[in-house]
């Protein structure tokens, strides 16, 4: 059976430009699978690989000569990083290779190891939801013949399926779902599991949040929807809003985003049947909002949307805490003091060539330039024109939480190290050395870079 795949025409141009500078290149294919059909919205070339030593020595980047030179784990890491930027429902569908070698007929074993590594890396990461099944799309473009061919490879069964890949003029029919998920989760560090790094507790918290998520129910534009209903029917009666986006003037149907409301049915929520007292060594509270925008193919069913919503929340939450822990030193992690950890917050960036928005995560102090760097490194997007960055979550005024955690009247302070009540910066991990804080009250950033590249 042949699989179907489609992407927009301009990606063929992107692919055909690659051989000009690269003899062999590899990259990621991003999109969504609906009813076993691949819907591709982005191709992103993996940057040339360079070892740390070479980088340190200032050696120039060397491009690959053939696919055997592909560094599997580097590509897999690229897939991991790129997945974190994707909204729920979107995945790294597979990889593309630009090379004049014949690689799909017969199927080159290098591709097997590459796809297996990618699959494994994505699968290892809890709550990344990196793999969408075990079938990976592989796309080959040859600069010499100007032809392309696609297959899918099942890493579990090693079977290969032909893929009929079509490049079409503007498809652009993704439906947009918006919501802000509100978290306020309290966790007690009990006496028994006191030891151990903070992120171990965070893992438990994420598991608990995930469990809660599975029980939520959702309203779409304030209505219940049947789980097998396709989302194309949601906006049927809705009017087309005024053309707010310049890029989409030529596009006749930019639909109003579907508002998602999330509810917890407290009656079916499991609660213990005992009142319990416990001596605790402290508490961890996760509080804030996750802002999400999903982009889904009209054929997606409501139950798939719901799955995508849950995946988006967990992917975003776990991604940002991972990034946060990675940024801390062991010393900082081990510090036995009250802390407000401020993981990077989500920025929603509208891709210049489609109306889809992806995410980037900014630490306090980082700004628009950092978004630009991520886009370039991970998605191979040169943000040469106007870039729409939406900072809906906003940065916390963390001082409010310090006041809460160590109020002067707090009792039983004899057993823990004295924590001063004024916010003396050296005691706290975050907010240290961040030089400046970008605007607390967030805004829609419009970065105008030398507008010489405007299409």
């Amino acid at each position: 059976m042949t699989r179907q795949a489609e992407g927009e025409e301009y990606w063929l141009k992107y692919l055909s430009d690659i051989p000009t500078n690269y003899k062999c290149a590899v990259g990621l294919i991003l999109g969504q699978v609906v009813s076993q059909k691949y819907h591709v919205f982005h191709f992103a070339k993996t940057p040339p690989f360079q070892t740390d030593e070479d980088k340190a020595a200032g050696k120039p980047l060397v491009t690959m000569k053939n696919i055997l030179e592909i560094n599997d784990s580097f590509v897999a890491d690229h897939a991991l990083q790129a997945t974190r930027m994707l909204p729920g429902g979107m995945h790294v569908l597979g990889v593309f290779v630009v090379s004049d070698e014949e690689i799909l007929n017969p199927f080159n074993s290098k591709l097997r190891t590459l796809l297996t590594t990618v699959n494994k890396t994505l699968g290892n990461q809890n709550y990344l939801f990196g793999n969408c099944g075990s079938e990976k799309l592989i796309f080959h473009y040859s600069g010499k013949t100007k032809r392309y061919l696609a297959k899918s490879y099942n890493v579990a069964s090693s079977s290969i399926t032909p893929v009929d890949f079509k490049f079409l003029p503007k498809i652009n029919n993704w439906l947009n779902f918006e919501f802000k998920y509100v978290i306020d989760y309290l966790y007690f560090i009990s006496g028994n599991n006191y030891e151990g790094p903070l992120n171990r507790h965070i893992k438990i918290i994420l598991d608990n949040i995930n469990k809660k998520l599975q029980k939520y129910f959702f309203l779409f534009n304030d209505e219940f929807k049947e789980s097998d209903e396709r989302i194309e029917s949601i906006n049927k009666k809705k009017k087309i809003p005024r053309g707010s986006s310049k890029r989409n003037i030529d596009n006749n149907a930019e639909e109003k985003p579907v508002q998602v409301s999330i509810y917890e049915d407290t009656y079916s929520m499991e609660i213990p049947d005992k009142i319990e007292t416990e001596k605790v060594m402290g508490q961890i509270r996760i509080i804030g909002e996750v802002a999400s925008k999903l982009w889904l193919n009209p054929k997606t069913t409501i139950s798939e949307v719901e799955q995508a919503i849950k995946e988006d929340i967990m992917r975003s939450l776990s991604g940002r805490v991972d990034m946060h822990w990675d940024s801390l030193t062991d010393e900082e992690l081990g510090e036995n003091i009250n802390t407000v950890h401020e993981p990077p917050r989500r920025m929603l960036i509208t891709l210049p060539d489609s109306n889809i928005s992806i995410s980037d995560y900014l630490f306090p102090g980082e700004g628009a330039e950092d978004v630009k760097t991520s886009l370039e490194e991970l998605l191979d997007i040169k943000a040469g024109n106007e870039l729409e960055v939406l900072d809906l979550e906003g940065q916390a005024d963390i001082s409010q939480y310090y006041q809460e955690t160590s109020s002067p009247e707090a009792e039983c302070d004899t057993l823990i190290p004295q924590v001063s009540t004024n916010i003396s910066s050296h005691k706290y991990l975050i907010g240290v050395g961040t030089g400046f804080l970008i605007l607390v009250i967030s805004i829609i950033l419009h970065i105008f870079l030398k507008g010489d590249n405007v299409k």
Binding site: K180, L219, S261, I275, E276, G282, Q283, I284, N338, E342
Partner: protein
């Protein structure tokens, strides 16, 4: 505007029987210029049972029973505490023996004005009003001190009022939200009243939902709602009060108390009220429930410091026949003596006779449970046509379940009738609150008889019959109930047992197991004509093997009135008459 005072017949009856001078509060519903007075509370210590009444039933007046004259100054002064009406009711009861005279007044601008009252039957009240039952779960974490707990309860209340809660009908995807603009309901066509909602529900499937309460001609309709919590922010814009998730680590050693709270509260609301207007009433319900919970928790905490874990309390709703309204109690697992004292106090302040229990766990109101499809029939004799015997009808008091052949996947056809009759008797003791135990299974019964030495161990899992004496042994051993055994040497002799049976049903009111020949039955009542000496027996037959279908049971005579000819002339019979003890 003239205030109309309507008083429930049940309340009037209570006041007429008052023997001693006392003061007390009146509770009722105020609708425009009409006050429906439904319940009372006698002043005793600082007891306040406002939160035990359904929501919307408020403190609306006072009563005083006196020998000479009422203390109007005190009345007027105390009426200042009433905020649901500008014209609180004052009922003066002049004690004169058995049938006190009740005078009704309203207090208006600090003056006592006469205002005649209209007695109303429960029938009228419950055809105008419907109960809305709100349920859902909350969770409270706090440092384990009373001050901190109070703060936490306050926080929780604030959270409840913050607008994130919504209410959902269990079926049909209908939601009521707190939106103050536009349509605040989801899944409804038009703007139905509570009456409409009930009809919608009933037409779906719940045909048996209307259940007659006792023999009175009224039914209690309940609309169930669950509360749900919104965990998304509708404002998809930058919200200055909100921010990206942060992780606040507070390494403070503390004793914490984790309190799961099951909200389960009733409101009494007029049927013509629109569903869309319920939001604030439901919030109020939750807050009242929370308040009741909080107060009960402090009582328990003051008694004993909690170390480790204790059972969460149960929220129990009692529909007390004498009162004619629901009384909600939150009951912690405390010592038998304390619980008994509390029940007695409740009987006292509600002026309920202490002859038999009404506030034990078993007395809780049996709500219709959609999830239990093949539920045992409750009181299958209700609705049967009376006999033409024109005698004194004395029936089982309270509720029992109909146990019969082939239930619980046990094929006891041919041998289990006495076991089933025993189970019916045990269910009565459970539902009357006398026994805080589940109805014994066949295995329980057989094991019990082996344990007390009445039967050899081979009896367990056998299909051997039991008789009236075994029934009385089991009742005594498992439920602590003593029984009287009545013997007749032939079925014909049953015709002369009228006075004894009348007496049993009047004093004890428990169902009777009767065994004779090869059959066992349950006697639920008698219709005894003293003049003619004719007697009819209300029989519940355990030999029925069919589905739990009331119409079959009644129409085919599995539950019905039988004459003396029902009994076999050639057999002797033993009856087991379970005795009840006076008390609560």
């Amino acid at each position: 505007m003239k205030t109309n005072v309507k008083i429930s017949n049940n309340l009037i009856e209570k006041l007429q029987k008052l023997h001693d001078p006392c003061f007390g509060k009146l509770y009722g519903i105020v609708i425009k210029d009409t006050i429906y007075v439904l319940g009372l509370q006698v002043d005793k210590d600082d007891a306040n049972i406002l939160y035990s009444f359904p929501n919307e039933v408020d403190f609306c007046g006072l009563f005083q029973s006196y020998l000479q004259n009422p203390d109007t100054d005190t009345i007027i002064q105390r009426c200042n505490d009433i905020d649901v009406t500008d014209t609180p009711v004052f009922l003066g009861i002049k004690i004169n023996g058995n049938n006190n005279h009740i005078v009704s007044h309203v207090i208006e601008s600090n003056k006592v004005t006469d205002a005649s009252y209209v007695p109303v039957k429960l029938n009228e009240i419950y055809s105008n009003f419907v109960h809305v039952r709100i349920r859902g779960n909350l969770f409270l974490n706090s440092e384990a001190s009373e001050t901190r707990l109070q703060e936490s309860f306050n926080e929780l209340s604030k959270d409840i009022l913050s607008g994130t809660l919504a209410f959902k009908l269990p079926k049909g995807n209908v939601i009521l939200t707190g939106k103050d603009t536009g349509n605040n309901t989801v899944g409804l066509v038009g703007d139905p009243t509570l009456g409409d909602i009930l009809e919608l529900n009933q037409s779906n499937e719940i045909t048996q939902k209307k259940r007659k309460v006792e023999d009175d001609d009224y039914s209690l309709d309940i609309i169930n709602l669950n509360f749900i919590k919104k965990v998304s922010n509708d404002k998809y814009v930058v919200d200055q009060k909100q921010h990206a998730p942060v992780v606040v680590l507070d390494k403070k050693l503390a004793d914490v108390i984790k309190v799961p709270i099951k909200i389960d509260f009733l409101s009494l609301i007029q049927r013509n009220v629109h569903f869309s207007t319920l939001y604030n009433i439901m919030l109020e319900s939750i807050l009242k429930n929370l308040n009741l919970f909080e107060n009960c928790l402090y009582v328990v905490l003051r008694e004993n410091e909690i170390k480790g874990k204790i059972d969460s309390p149960e929220t129990l709703h009692f529909f007390v026949k004498e009162c004619g309204h629901f009384v909600t109690q939150i009951v912690f697992n405390r010592s038998t003596e304390i619980l008994k004292k509390e029940r007695e106090a409740l009987h006292d302040i509600l002026l309920i006779s202490k002859q038999y229990p009404v506030f034990r766990k078993g007395n809780k109101y049996q709500f219709y449970d959609e999830n239990r499809k093949n539920k045992l029939l409750l009181n299958p004799h209700k609705g049967l046509k009376s006999t033409n015997n024109s005698g004194k009808v004395c029936l089982v008091k309270g509720n029992y379940e109909y146990y019969h052949y082939c239930q619980d996947k046990i094929d006891d056809n041919g041998w289990g009738c006495a076991y089933r009759s025993l189970q019916t008797l045990a269910s009565w003791f459970k539902l009357q609150g006398y026994a805080n135990k589940e109805v014994p299974t066949f295995k329980d019964i057989q094991t019990c008889l082996v344990d007390i030495g009445d039967k050899p161990s081979s009896f367990i899992d056998s299909r051997q019959w039991i008789g009236s004496t075994e029934v009385s042994f089991v009742l005594n051993t498992l439920l602590g109930v003593t029984s009287k055994i009545l013997h007749v040497s032939s079925g014909e002799e049953m015709a002369f047992k009228g006075p004894e049976l009348v007496n049993h049903f009047e004093v004890h009111g428990s169902p009777i197991m009767i065994g004779g020949g090869v059959l066992a039955h349950t006697i639920l009542g008698v219709d005894y004509n003293q003049e003619t000496g004719n007697i009819k027996f209300l029989i519940l037959d355990p030999h029925y093997t069919g589905e739990e279908d009331l119409s079959i049971v009644q129409n085919k005579g599995w539950c019905g009135w039988k004459g003396t000819e029902f009994w076999d002339k050639g057999s002797y019979y033993n009856m087991c008459l379970p005795q009840v003890q006076i008390g609560v």
